[in-house]
Symmetry: C2
Subunit: 205 residues, 2 copies
């Protein structure tokens, strides 16, 4: 129990569980069981129960889990029972799609600042956002106390952007640039490189 050293791989599955619970709730369900989740997610029911057992006892024997309650607990564990401000660096096609991606807001992640290096873009509007100069990253991040950033710049500049962000106090980076970032310990990084996923699948074709 307690958050003391729960395996990373377990943490990685919690958002999937949370997503499934939201889905079930929308369907009007109130109660579910590890087996039902397992069927939906392609994960064994034992694993789901074991994963949850790291954090406490959330179910009722013979019945299953009260969806609303379990969801609330997972949200607390993942710290998504609150709103998070997010900085976005890169206002290209990708940045545009990210800035307008409705699921961020719907899940409590709010893009509150968009940066770009291109003088042609600085000051321009992108949807409801005014594009800010990358030079102002340190001040804006610090003034707003932003802890999470999304990198959507070309691979060439990603490391430099990451350095600036970390320096400014960012503690979690979602990196869309196809490059492994070097960051100090304690800074979280997650990668989204669609090419990597495609290459992983072609192996099996």
């Amino acid at each position: 129990m307690g958050s003391a050293d729960v395996p990373d791989i377990v943490i990685g599955r919690l958002p999937i569980y949370l997503r499934a619970l939201n889905f079930l709730l929308e369907e009007g369900k109130e109660i579910t069981a590890s087996q039902e989740l397992a069927d939906k997610l392609g994960i064994s029911s034992a694993q789901i129960r074991k994963d949850l057992s790291h954090f406490g006892e959330f179910g009722k024997q013979g019945t299953g889990y009260e969806i609303r309650y379990l969801r609330e607990q997972l949200r607390k564990i993942l710290k998504v029972d609150r709103e998070w401000d997010v900085a976005l660096v890169g206002a290209g096609d990708l940045g545009h799609a990210i800035a307008h991606y409705g699921n961020f807001d719907r899940n409590g992640f709010h893009v509150v600042a968009v940066f770009d290096h291109n003088p042609r873009k600085i000051g321009a509007k992108m949807g409801r956002f005014r594009i800010l100069d990358s030079e102002s990253i340190p001040t804006v991040i610090q003034d707003m106390g932003i802890q999470i950033a999304i990198i959507a710049v070309p691979a060439e500049s990603a490391q430099q952007v990451a350095d600036t962000l970390v320096e400014a106090g960012i503690r979690a980076i979602l990196n869309y640039a196809p490059i492994t970032l070097n960051v100090p310990p304690g800074v979280q990084v997650q990668y989204i490189d669609p090419v990597v996923y495609l290459q992983r699948m072609t192996y099996y074709l």
Copy 2:
């Protein structure tokens, strides 16, 4: 050796190695060592060597790996030593960004058909693509012999789209919709849900 049951987790790292090798080559390097890759990627050198050992012996003791050669081998293993056609379903903001994402083409993945359900969009141009009616998915996929598809539609319609794609002969799906898909065995699926990655990081904040 041979492709007989190499752990999935190993396959998942190969694209990362490949990406790093491309990077080193662009930097003008010819030779590298497992330790150098390890430093760059934050993976142990032993693991890199063990991973590669599943497929053969690519290095030279005392020297390291000839980058160009190792890259060629990895490309063969991952079957990315050829070009792949890709179908894209969903012509919203996300689909737009995906259709214009240069890294796909640069890595041999070519979007050759874009589908949408919206009558307002069907027939319209999106960049260099003419948006096709989702109804035509089966015929187009089959006629063009496309094996890989990207789903960029809302969660509500993703499962239905996946069913249609699989029915049409698609064998690998990159799913941007925030929902776990149910597909028959033998069909590969990879997921990209940025919210999941953000939630995974907030746990540690």
